[in-house]
Assembly symmetry: C2
Homo-oligomer: 229 residues x 2
DNA sequence: ACCTGAACACCGTTCAAGT
DNA sequence: ACCTGAACACCGTTCAAGT
């Protein structure tokens, strides 16, 4: 059938002001969450918007600027617990959980934020809040600074760990291959691993339980001995 | 000068067996460490080897297989402390420091390993060792599993944090821009951050000091109260 | 068997041109 | 001003061909 038109007919020219930074960022976040940062392309973004590839460049300098803007917007969505007069440890827990949730709900945020300096007001507010809580918990300036960084590192590391694990385990048959590998382990050579394998697998599937286990341990170790459930 | 030959004359055909997997992985690691995972390309690798782009494909299926092999080789270089009968906490510290050092000395290793399941024997040995130490420290099976994952997450997060920070701070003027940003902060709006800014900057430049601070805190919190220097 | 260049289907981005 | 396609310099990889 020689005269068949192409399957997707050439898009009509987009009306004059149909595009704007907000619409672009919405589409970018949708694609980022759906396909991951690695698969995020300018061409795909334009297609999602129903627009020529270069149209986006009228609103953003390029891909990096879009990634930055998406990251910034995500940071702004972190909910800080309302200023409480209660124990600072509980509030610190909430703040870290908020950051963790952001990163696990938007896995691409990790890749977007990991490399860039935090320069949004909300990120600043978050850091200030954590530091104030650490001081209120009784830490001196240097301890508070160290503790703040340690908490952020643990939180980011946990989120990264989980999202990467999730991605590799979602592939077809990956789960079975892991189980087979474990079953094949030599119990003589790796006794601890073999006997704890069920617990390891179980710990992984716990959602935020694993994160909270380490977070509570870290807070306990950093803030002092108060047992607190 | 119309007859000038091209600056780099076409490479002679490479002798028959000059290439082998080891030479390829050596070159790959060199490039990865020098330019980062993002800048690592098959074409660049072939050029580094003085060989046509496609020559590498005779020894590896593709880029992913090379990345996997490099990651595996790096993992194998982690030195486990010799089996000690002493306190498990000190040994756990050493193991985590070893992993941390690997990741900070080879920043690309993080990107290579973060997404892939650990399937080398040395990685297995490392996990087994950590679990055994945690059990020896008195943790039950589930606690040991949780603690092991938390320690890995913290270690990976710290290394990621540092290498990314280092990369962005190495760019020209980035350091000054950060300082200017801090100086411009409103002390009324962000009192804790402003007063602790010097401590934060200082904590960052400490090398492994910051990492050890959090690691000791985490070990203290996970293993129990024994104070230990 | 090992190494080669040309070619394909991608990518981000520059550019000159349309409206 | 905003949107467009063609073109450029990249990328990983397939392929048929050289040695």
């Amino acid at each position: 059938m020689p005269s068949t038109p192409p399957a997707s007919p050439p898009r009509r020219r987009a009306p004059r002001n149909s595009l704007n930074p907000d619409r672009i960022l919405d589409a970018a976040l949708t694609l980022l969450d759906r396909d991951g940062a690695e698969a995020f392309t300018m061409r795909g973004l334009a297609q999602q918007l129903g627009v020529g590839t270069m149209a986006v460049y009228s609103h953003f300098r390029g891909k990096d600027e879009i990634s930055d803007a998406v990251a910034q917007r995500l940071l702004d969505t972190i909910e800080l617990p309302r200023e409480g007069s209660g124990d600072p440890r509980g509030e610190l827990r909430e703040v870290c959980l908020g950051v963790y949730r952001l990163f696990t709900e938007h896995p691409s945020a990790l890749e977007l934020l990991a490399g860039r300096p935090l320069r949004g007001d909300d990120a600043i507010a978050l850091i200030d809040r954590m530091l104030a809580l650490l001081v209120r918990a009784g830490l001196g300036p240097q301890d508070a600074a160290h503790a703040h960084i340690a908490l952020m590192q643990y939180t980011v590391g946990s989120a990264l760990w989980n999202t990467r694990r999730a991605r590799t385990l979602c592939q077809d048959g990956a789960r079975d291959r892991v189980l087979a590998k474990i079953a094949a382990l030599d119990a003589g050579a790796y006794p601890a691993l073999v006997s704890l394998a069920p617990d390891l697998l179980c710990a992984r599937n716990e959602g935020t339980g694993q994160f909270e286990y380490g977070l509570d341990g870290l807070l306990r170790g950093l803030l002092g001995a108060a047992p607190q459930v």
